[in-house]
Amino acid sequence: MIETTSVGEKTAAPQGSALQRSPRKPRLPGVVAVLIRRLLWAIPLILVVTAFSFVLVSLTPGDPAREMLGIDASEEAYLALRSQLGLDRPVWEQYISWLLNALQGNLGTSIYTGGSVSEAIAARMPVTISLVVASLLLSLIIGMIVGVYSAARGGWSGKLVDSLALVGFALPTVWVGALLIGLFAVRFRWLPASGYVPFAEDPMAWLLCLVLPVTALATHAVAAISKQTREAMLDVLGSEHIRMARANGVGEVSLVLRHSLKNAGLRISTVLGLQAIGLLGGTVLVESVFGLPGLGGLAVEASRRHDLPVIQGIVLVFTVFVVLINVAIDLAYSWLNPRVSAR
Amino acid sequence: MSEHALLQVRDLTVTYPARGRGDGFTAVRDVSFDVPSNTTVGLVGESGSGKSTIGRAILGMSPISVGSVTFGGRELAAITSRDRRALSSELQVIFQDPYGSLNPTRTIGQTIAESLRHVADLSASERADRIEEALDQVGMPRSAAARYPGNFSGGQRQRIAIARAIIGRPRLIICDEPTSALDLSVQAQVLNLLMDLQEELGLSYLFVSHDLAVVRHVSDEILVLLRGSIVERGQSARVYDNPEHPYTRALLDAAPVPDPARQRLRRLARSAAAATT
């Protein structure tokens, strides 16, 4: 959602400070350095995000112990639960112990259900990952093909891509979802309107129940990736070195698919990273629209019910996802641009 | 070197700090020279010779690591930004790229007038008069003041840049490759203009260029730079006609002369020299 600002963003500095690699060094250590750098960078990110949400939560007027016990509970029971939950300790102590537990995979218990947060998250993770990975693959494949084709061919296909990208950018995900349900589930009854079937249970049903949510989720990413691919390809195809390579006999296919695509790859991977993070956020909406039991839906429920341990856990998981996406993008960068930060 | 030259540069060294570890990069090493009043001193060298860095150091755009630079008796190495501001009308600059040196969103008049912001006690009409005078001096129509840089050719823009430099009545102008982005016929116009203005206003120039013929044409004295150090200096005709340092000779030999017969002879002489060594 937030990442939509990247449409039309031509000048964004590529992940700026992340990498400083000396150009003469051999390849492998460079990649390792990128990895180490990004992972080191991830630590403060995770700390800042979780500490921020922890502090914010501690400012909440409500009291989880009260909410868990209900209004009729005795004062003793309340105080006992408070100390059991560690609520009588200072915020930073609570945070440290949460962090230590989290490192061991224990994210606490839900105030609302009383169940383990880690288990709840683990149970819902496959849904969200299926959604995000499928949407990402779909939008990458369609976006790249459409973008490269329209840049290489020009003419009407370029204008069409520009217009479709704009519409794709303007359509709100929830509305796309509603329209898809209206058309394919209610009118034609081809596909299920909601619900999720695990892959292990019935692969075909799993696939069918993902079609509409993935389409709704990917609309925006397809638009953004095809537009950015097209623009990046146009820039490269118009550049001096392509003109000179063509003048000296390099074939068109190689010019488009090897020379230009690798140069344009930098910008495409920037967009791809932003879109992947955007898709992750989009699951919150899509899972609500299609009633899918994923992390996004869990986050919305938790937010509504003030189930803070749950939301805290989801924040952690999403942040880790974001870190992983950034690592992948950085690796793509170091391969695509031999000059990464050689300035 | 005289005691009372307008600009005195003594043992100037410019070192850029390294990024991270390392020793840093010394762009200029132990350079000393004078620019007397109403004189042009040419700095010539190839890329990386430090010729532009010297100009930038005098203007306060590059750090003076060691040495001193005195202008009109004032030391510039440790000058406060307020004092430098007061100096700005006396010490000016003309850059190489006439397209980058004018802000496309401001009118010519606004751009030229910037050099007057620190000249106190000027009424609006005096200011307008000065702008017109400066445009006259560089041979631009007065109507140019209300227009934007986009309307002018490279040569005209360079005239405008010169107007900006002279409007504050400077004593020294650093000319950093002022004609290397210009075509041959326009280069000649601009060089002539610079020389006329010198006669008219008694200016001094520190003229930085890679082209020995251009430098020889405008300068009284030439300094030849190689990797941050001066390798040869002297009266311009002497340096050009009888170079002493092998590097100066190499520079002169490398530049082809626009005369086919002479160039053929030079080439033969050079290959003969190469064969014997």
Partner: protein, 652 residues
């Protein structure tokens, strides 16, 4: 040659360009665009609606049910957009909902601008440690899973749209700061900023007067995109019922209500969805228009103009006997470029010349005279928008303009190769030198991978590169200018071409490197019996390398001849003036000879002789009719000037 004695005032006044004053006033340019006007009008209308509608129908904000007898109605005159499942008027709810929508968008936008713009300006302008700290924080915030953070905030501040939208603004601000920063960086390096510093102007003045106006475009673009993104996010959050408390109408909430009633009344999802989409489109299109308006003028058109077929193009190939031993004959070639508005502009005007076998021909002239366009038209490598309007380019008996694209490709590199001015940008920065050369070699020869590598090594040795094994493994940015130019020459040699087109091959190089490259080119041409077209503005290079020279001015050949004669006895006033203004030739004189004014840009060439407006010898007859014909004066020495005979002994 007026300049020697004439006043400076005249000389420059003649130069003032004929274009009407083009003020870069941004708003005026924006409003010239119809689309921008429509978007602005829509947004303005929406703002008015958002203010007025809640005043007209204050009850809509609190109304839980409408007329329960009148639920789920389709649009009618009474209810323009029908009624919802509780009998409320959908039209009223959409209009009143605009207020909540716009307030939320404005909150997010304001926070993003207040945080992002100053941080970006400071990071870009101050640089150094400040920049690193700001960039680090921006990177950190930018990487947050945005919507989850908003959910956390909403868990703490239930149903607070302000809290959600302020958080959104904070989360978007780093992206804005980053864009502002990268827009500031090049502006900071502009020479006019340095000039302002030299003039003693303070940082605050420079930031507000010089930097901010230059980055205003990107900021406005981002502002509209951020608004659009905020609207989309807000719709999602309202859909989830997290930011607007029922029964107050919000567009997102109305989509949720529509979804719940999808089976009963499929109409209900349409009005709010269309409202959000239209508003987002308006904001996004406005951003695009602003971007186009700010880059207008310097950006070329992005679509490739189709190359119209040459006038004389015929079916099949037209093969002629090669006469006069010429390898290449360029006959009456006109080259035009299509402007962004579609009008063609002629840049090369009926140019005719030939290149003999083993001969080196110089194309000489100032910039904007059509030298490069002429040369690139030979190989069909004109930049986008350019095409050969008419003429013949006969290479070894074959008119290249008649060839179809596939056959033409076989000529590129194999018969005719090109090296360009800027070696550093004529190699692909993303691939190693060895790979790039091997690809060309394999294309031309079909050699195996290993054989191609051996051939590449051999080529690198031929261009006198030391340690070719090591050069193979480098990327272009790891080469010096001279080395890169040698690699480019090696690529040009890979197909054993018979004609080499060298476009200012040494202009970007230092003079000592230039001498080496010129020697290399001369040697290669001699050894291989290649022909060469050398484009240059440097008379010294012509004298050093060429056999004959062709002088171009304003799209035309004005003089051509063997160099000894051309240098000793130039005939055209332009050639005379250009030679005389070379400081290498006028040693010892105080003033240089100069030619008044500058080369007129394509599209504004004068009638008659193209040079007459700058010519000291122009008479009335020069302005009449077409440009004078190119005529032979001496053996192999032609000139395009009606007064050439009178002026023969007249030196400037």
């Amino acid at each position: 040659m007026t300049a020697t004695k004439s006043s400076r005032k005249e000389s420059a006044a003649a130069e003032v360009s004929p274009h009407a004053a083009q003020s870069p006033r941004f708003l005026r340019r924006l409003l010239k665009r119809g689309l921008a006007r429509v978007c602005l009008a829509y947004i303005l209308l929406l703002v008015i609606v958002a203010i007025v509608a809640p005043m007209i129908w204050p009850e809509v904000l609190t109304e839980r049910t409408g007329d329960l007898a009148d639920v789920n109605q389709l649009p009618s005159l009474q209810h323009l957009l029908g009624t919802d499942s509780l009998g409320r008027d959908v039209f009223q709810r959409i209009l009143v909902g605009a207020q909540i929508t716009l307030i939320g968008v404005a909150q997010a936008l304001a926070v993003a601008l207040v945080l992002g713009v100053p941080l970006g300006l400071i990071a870009g302008y101050v640089g150094g440690r400040t920049d690193r700290v700001i960039s680090w924080i921006a990177d950190l915030l930018f990487a947050l899973p945005g919507i989850i953070i908003i959910l956390v905030v909403l868990a703490v501040f239930p149903l607070s749209m302000t809290a959600a939208m302020v958080t959104l603004g904070v989360l978007v601000a780093p992206g804005l700061a980053r864009i502002v920063r990268s827009a500031v960086l090049p502006v900071k390096e502009e020479l006019y900023v340095s000039a302002a510093r030299v003039s003693g102007l303070g940082d605050a003045y420079i930031i507000t007067q010089h930097v901010l106006p230059r980055v205003a475009g990107p900021i406005i673009v981002q502002a509209s995109l951020i608004s659009a993104a905020a609207l989309i996010s807000q719709t999602g959050l309202a859909f989830l019922g997290l930011i607007v408390e029922a029964p107050a109408p919000s567009w997102g909430g109305m989509i949720a209500e529509g979804l719940q009633n999808l089976l009963v009344d499929p109409w209900l999802i349409w009005p709010p969805g269309v409202a959000v989409t239209l508003t987002t489109l308006a904001l996004g299109l406005l951003g695009d228009s602003v971007r186009d308006a700010t880059t207008e003028g310097w950006a070329g058109s992005s679509t490739k103009a189709k190359k119209p077929r040459s006038r004389r193009a015929q079916e099949g190939l037209e093969v002629e006997p090669a006469d006069r031993n010429a390898l290449l004959r360029v006959e009456d070639v006109n080259v035009e470029f299509r402007r962004p508005d579609g009008r063609p502009v002629r840049v090369v005007d009926s140019v005719t010349f030939h290149v003999g076998r083993g001969e080196t021909v110089g194309l000489v002239g100032e910039s904007g005279c059509g030298k490069t366009a002429t040369a690139m038209s030979i190989i069909g490598a004109l930049p986008s928008g350019g095409y050969v309007e008419s003429g013949r380019i006969v290479f070894d008996g074959v008119n290249l303009l008649d060839l179809d694209a596939r056959i033409m490709r076989a000529y590129r590199g194999k018969e005719i190769a090109v090296i360009s001015q800027e070696p550093s940008v004529s190699l692909n920065p993303g691939f190693r030198v060895g790979w790039q050369l091997a690809e060309v070699v394999r294309n031309h020869t079909g050699l195996s991978r290993r054989a191609a590598k051996a051939r590449v090594l051999q080529l690198l040795q031929q261009v006198e590169l030391r340690d070719p094994e090591q050069v193979l493994r480098r990327y272009p940015h790891e080469l010096s200018g001279g080395m890169a130019q040698r690699v480019v020459i090696a690529r040009a040699l890979a197909g054993e071409p018979r004609l080499l087109i060298a476009d200012e091959p040494t202009t970007a190089l230092d003079v000592t490197i230039q001498a080496e490259i010129l020697n290399l080119l001369r040697r290669l041409v001699a050894e291989r019996g290649m022909s060469m077209i050398l484009i240059t503005h440097d008379w010294g290079v012509v004298a050093d390398v060429c056999d004959r020279a062709i002088v171009m001015y304003a799209g035309e050949v004005v003089e051509r001849g063997v160099i000894d004669e051309l240098f000793a006895a130039p005939l055209h006033p332009y050639t005379k003036g250009l030679l005389a203004s070379d400081p290498h030739r006028s040693i010892g004189e105080h003033r240089l000879i100069s030619i008044a004014g500058s080369v007129p840009p394509p599209g504004s060439w004068p009638s008659g002789c193209h040079f007459r407006t700058r010519c000291a010898f122009a008479v009335e007859a020069c302005a009449e009719g077409e440009s004078p014909a190119l005529r032979q004066v001496e053996v192999a020495h032609d000139v395009r000037c009606i007064r050439a005979d009178e002026l023969e002994d007249h030196n400037v």
